[in-house]
Symmetry: D2
Subunit: 347 residues, 4 copies
């Protein structure tokens, strides 16, 4: 497409449908320490401690767990109109949203993007207190800000091309020598990603991630879940990613939505930031310490809704699946041969 | 003295007189995160998160801030009787205390020790829940256990001899080449100290210290006090001690009682643990990073009570004072010459 | 000015004149752990562990310690030409630099900027190995990347206006109620600053700063200097800044150049990032924990050279000086009254 | 037995037979950062950074990897004689060792203990520099001291009775409701253990453990092994133990000897330290976060030598094995039911 895309600043908020607001609140507020900007019987609007926009996560009560929308912030009010034109040009379903249609959010455009995801573009949002230095409110597991979305989509190169058309750049990817691409990480803000594209049946939401200042906050959340006798909410980790270099932990919320806690990635803001490609057979790509990826992490993801709130049908991935090519007969992806792998290489 | 001393396990609790229980609670519970075992209008009994005895700190309401007692735990009920004999043999004032005379504490002996301090020896104490793994209750500034007492006394060698008579050993001290001793650190449990003897007008309480698992907890308490707009409660630090190698922070409670937060000292439990002597002119002895000791830290300390609850008269130190020999005309102890100092030396 | 400024990506490198390359190497490589990209008898080119451009710091041998140049990276080769036009339009002295005039740097423009600083704009630079995951090379005090410059200049509002003309935005500043501005923090990349403007006699270089991943690296460097018996190289800190929220430490290199180590600031990349103004009388503005700023930190700074390598004359600040209005008769800026200060306020 | 046991201070050193000294050196010195006190073609003597005795680990070149001896330090020279009498009374094979028979170690007694292990008791040892504050020598993965041994033995209650006869106390154990004991942790110094008894075919050495000051050192060693492309040396973890509360990591050295890195356990020095019993079906007992124990951790251990240097025959455990009763058909011990487990309970 030659139409001008909107100038996207960053991933900004997600709205998840949850089946039990009280149970979700216990997890997101009680364990993760997110701050309630507003709550009522229908929804809870949450933010992390360094965020000054109204929310970065909305939990909305519903019958079936799902992703309701992924929100990107654009650089100015005018860019909302640019987004509308761009997606109409792409032939996507597009809806204008009046200010306040989502609490705290100004005029917006929602689309069903070419990958099948419900996506919103907005600029205006209500400002609230930034709690960066309100250390009296910081728990031992304090989270600073929303970091990224990760979505499951069948055709990663196609998804990458779509996001490049939106002005995103690739920081890292996972490939094999035959040319199959298993995943790609893409960004607008100067971090490793605003969105990761994970090859698999889709459209589905793989996870959303919040960043902390240090690793200690993430380790505390593990300890906290242990104390609550809910270690089953820890799906994978903690560990160090090969891709992104981030220290990570994956949790599953009461509805099974996956939340990543994340810190220590790196600056990507220079125009020539080197792209790193990992070989799918390199068992350090997803865990630098070689710990196995649990099967559920590859297989499970959240349904996504269309703009009418109906679950989107899922299209199967037809290319090789990462789990199949990397997990051996013993259930582990750990490479036990002495084969020398190349490190993720700067291109 | 040739009488047998009681077998002391460790420093166990302190009782402080405070003038405003609510203000003290805000500091000790709200900021330091100590756990309330019991509270009423007269007193608050507190413990740190890894402690299973009833309390390690009692705050008792009174008109004048003071130290009411320093409590040592002995190894068995019989050792309480040994303590009684030992101190009667020393000619000290001695009182038996019935079980419960202090809430949560069993039969005890209280003495006015030869240094002028009110000291209690007990074995039995009520067991309460050890919260080591109750991470749901751990704040970002979680404290693990009482670590040591530090008292101000005019004659350090005399005080050292008295404590050696109680079975304590020296881990480190501060001296000069003329033979003056400025401070000594002495222990029963396998840490650098249960009691530090600081040369100065005394008897006075210099501080009590609580240990955390890592430095992050101590740094959080600084941040927390900043958020409360009470940085004036931070008297000195954070820093790394030369003596003890511990990472430290000194706070002043609402009555001016000094509390140290402390972590990273070392194991001293072997019989030949090397004694380290520091030269008083070595400006890394009290702060490994050479940061100046603030004058109040040298000058101020809490009054102590006799067994009738009356303030003890203070005897002036007649030997050189550490502050005088180390603080220069510019108000800093930092050595700006290129003189080579010897490191604290293992004897 | 109405001329188009170059599109600056970020602060990129500084060149310091040092009098003893071996002594400087011991500090920058031996203690700070910076990586040598190239060195010879005249200069050492250094980078931090996450950097892939040839260098972020050049140490060049000379007779008098000084700042030789501050380098900014622009977004494309064409922006180097834009920089040339822009500064010619400003009437500044401008020089083209051929590729390699500075080792590892492509075609560049150097100017004497209106504030009196030697500043270079470049795009092309030699790529070298990014050592982010070469943990075998990371010491306990590992530094990730250059974070910012801080310069001393007499007239902060004028300097701010100049940098706004270069497309920088303000994140925070320090003011008083009478309208005097004492300092301002300005950025291009999405951190609190690429350049801080500190009111004082200038042009002088106050410091350059490197960022680490966590606070532990900074604390280790304190411990390391203690072990070397060089605590006098620690000028101020460690502490938590009020402004920027960063955890900090100020060191002085063997020539007295000031180096800050820095971590934990916050994301500023949204267009409406709130500006925070601090009152100069708020004693938490420069240290969140209320620790005093040492006088040398206010008074001392490095000389800067003109494009011929001659020291620039220094112009005195005529407005009130921060040190004078905040440090009391006792030598401390700590506010001991109960006056309520307003927190740094979001505008 | 009614004979008096020696007064054991703590676990003090282990000697391992390794097949390639250079490869072992790369692991123990290059990765773990242990300090070489002495080395020659036959052996390397190593210590951790806070240790002042000659060594806490000896690597001796040999044909078959094995444990050569576990060394305990006793409280005085006389206690070495007490040890001799005690073990002769037990009918154990006993040998006197002259001073220097092991480099750096004074007169000693070696025994084949009733569990089949080669064990040495000594008091005198050469003092060397304690490097606690030699931060210039501390890497990012600095280890402070030897913490404990862990041995595999078929009959845990019998082994416990034997060690109680040596004056050790139990801190924690793992049991089931039918009375089978799977493991016990026993101590002399005031930590959770000097020796852990793990039920299984024995005598074999399960692992030896070194303590670090904080978790960051342990995480760095993971990162370091990742950078060396040797993540296969990480067998299990990092994680938080239920038992002991310690943060842990298990590595395998080039010969397969298992090394644990360990921090954050708790003080056990009071006479009434509560014993904690864990149910073998509680999936948080070995990992507080519920992460699965890898099968090799249960199955594999090092051979041990008799006093003539010959491998000891291994006796099979006849009681239930922990791996069998806790690992399900899916290869994970994670409990996915909602069954409420009791926490490790204080007795």
């Amino acid at each position: 497409m030659t139409s001008t895309p909107p100038d996207v600043v960053r991933c900004a908020y997600a709205e998840l449908v949850v089946t039990d607001l009280a149970a979700s609140r216990e997890f997101y507020v009680g364990v993760l320490g997110l701050v309630v900007t507003h709550e009522d019987d229908e929804a809870i609007h949450l933010r992390a401690l360094e965020e000054y926009l109204h929310h970065s996560l909305v939990l909305r009560r519903g019958d079936v767990p799902a992703l309701a929308v992924l929100g990107y912030r654009v650089r100015s009010p005018r860019e909302v109109d640019v987004a509308e034109s761009h997606f109409r040009g792409l032939g996507a379903r597009v809806e204008r949203r009046a200010a306040g249609a989502t609490r705290g959010i100004g005029p917006a455009v929602r689309v069903e993007d070419p990958l099948g995801f419900p996506v919103e573009f907005f600029y205006e949002a209500e400002h609230v207190e930034r709690l960066t230095q309100r250390y009296d409110l910081h728990g031992a597991g304090a989270l600073a800000r929303l970091d990224h979305f990760n979505v499951t989509t069948p055709d990663v190169p196609a998804a990458r091309a779509y996001y490049e058309g939106l002005g995103f750049r690739v920081s890292e990817d996972i490939r094999d020598d035959e040319g199959t691409v298993y995943a790609a990480w893409m960004f607008r803000k100067s971090t490793v990603h605003d969105i990761a594209l994970t090859g698999g049946d889709g459209p589905r939401l793989h996870h959303i991630a919040f960043a902390s200042a240090e690793r200690a906050q993430i380790l505390h959340i593990c300890d906290h879940l242990g104390a609550l006798r809910r270690p089953d909410m820890i799906e994978r980790g903690p560990g160090r990613h090969g891709v992104s270099n981030a220290f990570y932990l994956y949790l599953r919320d009461p509805d099974g939505h996956r939340i990543e806690l994340y810190t220590h990635d790196y600056y990507t803001g220079d125009p020539d930031n080197p792209v790193i490609s990992w070989n799918v057979h390199d068992n350090q790509r997803r865990d630098w310490w070689g710990n196995a990826v649990v099967p559920s992490w590859y297989a499970e993801a959240s349904a996504v809704l269309d703009l009418d709130g109906r679950p989107r049908p899922v299209v199967e991935r037809t290319e090789d699946r990462e789990a199949d090519v990397t997990i051996g007969a013993d259930g582990f992806s750990r490479t036990r041969t002495d084969t020398e792998f190349k490190l993720g290489e700067q291109v």
